[in-house]
Symmetry: C2
Subunit: 218 residues, 2 copies
Amino acid sequence: MPKRVDHAERRAHIIDALVRVAAAEGLHAVTMRAVAAEAGMSLNLVQYYFDSKAKLMHAALERLEQQSHQRWSKRLADLPQPPTAHAFIEAFLAEALPTDEASRAFHLVWTSYAVLAMTDRELAAEPFVAGPDRLERQLTDVLSRAQRDGALAGGRDPAAEAARLLALSHGLGTGVLVGQRSAEAAMAILRAHLDQLFDDRLVWSAPRSPVEVTSDGG
Amino acid sequence: MPKRVDHAERRAHIIDALVRVAAAEGLHAVTMRAVAAEAGMSLNLVQYYFDSKAKLMHAALERLEQQSHQRWSKRLADLPQPPTAHAFIEAFLAEALPTDEASRAFHLVWTSYAVLAMTDRELAAEPFVAGPDRLERQLTDVLSRAQRDGALAGGRDPAAEAARLLALSHGLGTGVLVGQRSAEAAMAILRAHLDQLFDDRLVWSAPRSPVEVTSDGG
DNA sequence: ATTTTTATCGTACAGCGGTACTATGAAAAC
DNA sequence: GTTTTCATAGTACCGCTGTACGATAAAAAT
């Protein structure tokens, strides 16, 4: 056996095993032994590369976050540059939906972590609030620009629309995960929503002065 | 000690203890012993009233479902009869959001169960797909009627709107649970969505007979 | 060549979890 | 009044889980 080994690669290998176990049998089935077996190594090695289970769990969450970011970047890069706001957001929403098996696994494990974080003060809740918050700001920016360009349907509040998009995609994602709806059906709903949001067929019935839609934009 | 005891009451008491434990520490913290302690009885009694942990978990899920149904019925009954479609749906959405502590506990535990059901074939996935399906049909009916009455904004598909409302409320609910958004903010977004859905200020660009504004005094 | 470091293995230990077993007073049935 | 049933209690057992503790062989360092 060689002496020097790429620790980062080893750790990634183990975490991938963890995600496979969690996706197949749930986060509660993630034990040091199960992960070791899935990774094809001994229990001791998992201990060796991650001191404790808690650290392993944290590392896995971090990796999931990074991977998600990477996939999102890749999808964005695949868009014709510069992408329209519509295309940009549609790509975003497509990524937020569990379409293929890999995506399904990711979303399932991510959701499991999120539920865990609701009660475990130990587990950083940061990714589950700061992450969406950042996305929401990003979406808000894009929508604001789109609004300036006149691409948005009238009377929309970019921040509110961003929040709505995020909540909607998450709700649909859960529906797909739970087997209530197919990913295609969910995507169709999202596209319809987007079409409405970017639709120029919808106009105000009265000239725009008197109408005040949302309250504050805090 | 008396001999005859109301089993249903006993079981309900135990299940309530389970829900408290699950809401406070997560579903993974639900052990026979923890539930017994929370219920103020011995481990053996929990075994006595529910043969196994699996049956206890199933019973708890059933009770949650029933309670949810009851709360929803009560909320509906509190509405002025007959309720407008707008009021009906707003009441529904308000119930779907974790507003007070009790509601938060319910939604947290329910979500935990849903995540569990994603991997445990044993745990009936039925409540998490048949339930929302039924709600969706109900909403679709209400929206269809509203559309016939001309209360809906133009060009909407009741079924799609029902799915959208359900997904949106669920996504917002998760956001509240996770601490990303306050229940009030979530409710504001939902109300805005509803206002749009029922809004007569939004019409097709092609001129249309003016729809009157139902100023919701109810 | 010896010593140290590193990656790996096996195993042991303590705690907890679900379940099963037995016991015991008290009410109900007879 | 005896027997049966019921609600409750205590406890023991076995398996699993995280963690700790050596052992070992190979590569690196000296």
